[in-house]
Amino acid sequence: MSKHLTEWLSSYADNELRGSQLQHVEAHLAECDTCQAELESLEGLSDLLQQVPTPEFTPPERFAAQVSLRLPHQKTATPGKKILEIGWWMIPVGLLVIWIFMNTSFLVEDVLSTANRLGLLANISDWMMFGPPSAADWSSMLGQFGVLSGNSLDLAAYTEVFTRTTLPQISLQVSIALLYLSWIAVWWTRHQRQQHGQLIEG
């Protein structure tokens, strides 16, 4: 005879077995007196438990009235709160849009500048070019502050390019990253609070 299947008998008695597992247990029960007795014992226990009657509880209507008295005011979402909630979720979306727009602008600017240097945009109007007019103003401004007063022309040129293009780019990227991280930090704090509330349920 195969090994006793006592661990499956509860599930069998509860009609929770299906397919091959059910057939296996049924076949075993047909030839195993020990498991048959065990099954009868389980069924006897179930009958015994049903002997405990359900007492008279407070009628549902009265019970519901008692519960109603204990109910605090529920926080309902007002239109203003809903708008705030939508605005809250729009923050990361907006930051992402700004980031994409900014990087696209920088990329287009680089492409146009390069093309201009190569003489590919000789006929294009000046207004489409980001570099030359503002570059002159920028150089003038840096000169006033003495930034370009060193001996090295290369260093002056590098400083000019760095302060005019790279530094603003880095500043913007860092600002957007900081704003995004701050949003995540606030979201995480709110999420933790909500989870704490749900602990009461489970």
């Binding site: 006793h4 006592t6 661990e7 509860s10 599930s11 509860d14 929770e16 020990t34 007795a37 065990e38 009868e40 014992s41 389980l42 006897g44 226990l45 179930s46 015994l48 438990l49 049903q50 002997q51 405990v52 009657p53 359900t54 007492p55 509880f57 407070t58 549902p60 209507e61 009265r62 019970f63 519901a64 009235a65 008692q66 519960v67 109603s68 204990r70 109910l71 605090p72 529920q74 309902t76 909500q194 509330g197 749900q198 009461i200 349920e201 489970g202």
Partner: protein, 197 residues
Amino acid sequence: MECFTVATGTAISETELIKRSKNGERNAFSELVCIHAQGVTNVIYRMCGDVHIAEDAAQETFVQAWLHLASYRPQTSLRNWLYRIAVNAATDMLRKEKRILPNALEDLQLSDPQPGPEAVFSQEERTALIQKAVVSLPDACRAVLVLREYEGLSYHEIADALDIPLGTVMSRLNYARKLLREKLAQKLFLQVEAEHV
């Protein structure tokens, strides 16, 4: 107070009542309380064995449900969700009350001091003995046993209600029944699993 559907003669689906309750309609929530009051109270009563504690914990269950209704997912059964809160409320209430001790079975005074096959108990004694044996089970397996035996939930429903795996439901139920039979065997001469199995 009369339940809304009874008062108006209009049957409103549970889904609609949940939706209205989420919008803060207390009457709709009271209707849900009417529907589930007996089930929730019975689960807690079977867990603790005291009607007053059961009703108090059941009220607390519905208050918590009202407060956290926003976190209820409509895809799941409201009854199972309430049962989960009820089981936790019952456990908390028992801890606070400390009126029912884990070894309550030993406190029961039986008419026959040396029980055996010939022992004759009154029906009241018998049911009290069974009830106390259930109450003395560990919390986790008692909840599974109560939901199965008294509420007739399937294993899947129990797993859903208690948020535990199906295998855990089976093992806890096996353990609960094994413990119960051991506890009741001496008193009620219940046939116990053979030693050699």
